[in-house]
Symmetry: C2
Subunit: 224 residues, 2 copies
Amino acid sequence: LKIGILIFDQVTQLDATGPFEALARIPGAQMFLVAARRVPVTAEFGLKIVPDVDYRTCPKLDLLLVPGGIGVNALLLDRATLAFIRLKAAQAKYVTSVCTGSLLLGAAGLLEGKRAACHWLSLPLLKAFGARPSKRRIERDGRIWTAGGITAGIDFGLWVAGQIAGPRVAKEIQLVLQYDPQPPFRAGSPKGAGRAITESVTAARFAMQAQRALLVEEAARRLK
Amino acid sequence: LKIGILIFDQVTQLDATGPFEALARIPGAQMFLVAARRVPVTAEFGLKIVPDVDYRTCPKLDLLLVPGGIGVNALLLDRATLAFIRLKAAQAKYVTSVCTGSLLLGAAGLLEGKRAACHWLSLPLLKAFGARPSKRRIERDGRIWTAGGITAGIDFGLWVAGQIAGPRVAKEIQLVLQYDPQPPFRAGSPKGAGRAITESVTAARFAMQAQRALLVEEAARRLK
């Protein structure tokens, strides 16, 4: 079971490391962190991860996982990355994403007519790729499996483990991860957080989101 | 606000990367991943993280976080690591751990008489260090703040953000992380998972836990 997780500069590292922790524990799983080049990738906030393989040396994958983050913007029009995603997706049994990684699946032309999840802040952008935005934390449309924002990747990793290896294995992994969440606040969704906090978070990301919207538009145009 | 997270070979990477994602978003936070030497650390299941500083070049920290994992065993009797933890703990405002990282706080002599959390499987071992094992997901005893197993580090990171920067900031971080968990099963605690799954997980780790118990005993002896 070859599982490849794409990493890139300015990735949200928890989009990748959260599901990694669950998926790596599936019996028989072989994990590959893949980057454009085999040099350390610097995630948002500076955490550096060393890729195992690059786009050329990455083996054929059973499962591709594309995480999100600010770095998605730089990749929306990156031909090498989109070609890599398209190639691995064509060969894989499961094509998956966490957070705004679904925008890259969209830019690679993989979401036309498909239901897909995304980080709440970028969810509406999926429409440009012909996708049907889903507010669910875990969304499944055929072999396209997508998760919501950042920490949804942990729920997702356990769910994927259940799909691939059965609920017994997934429950064992959940127990090892002691995943019995007790969030200190109820602010994990716009509804739970309330209007003031949601507006504040949205305003702080206005410029980044405006740039993202333009890039998504251009990426969608290139698909036509 | 200087935050240092210890990393080492065979660390459970999510013990470190989970809280990292929350803590790094506290306004003014400067993150330092610290290892014995400035070469990439290989976590359990092969994920490689590049440390920012080593024990000698790590600055004085406001918050020290010690994660856990199989690699804890090799460090329980490691004088350089225990001396590093002791030094940084003496200077820090907050001394914290996730998962079996609390065993290293214990081996460094920091838990005598203190309530402390740990991964459920290793929780009883804390007694050897004079600590009072706590089943809570987040435990606070003075400036010693400890979390339960692996994913407890995410609850913990948000809680710490609230303690340091106030609930408003912590809620904004929780919304960005979209931390509205929906575990696919209810197997995140021994009680929830039930006896069969708990016994299976425990049996698979018997040798590792037996070795750990011996090392903890010797580490505790050295403190006397």
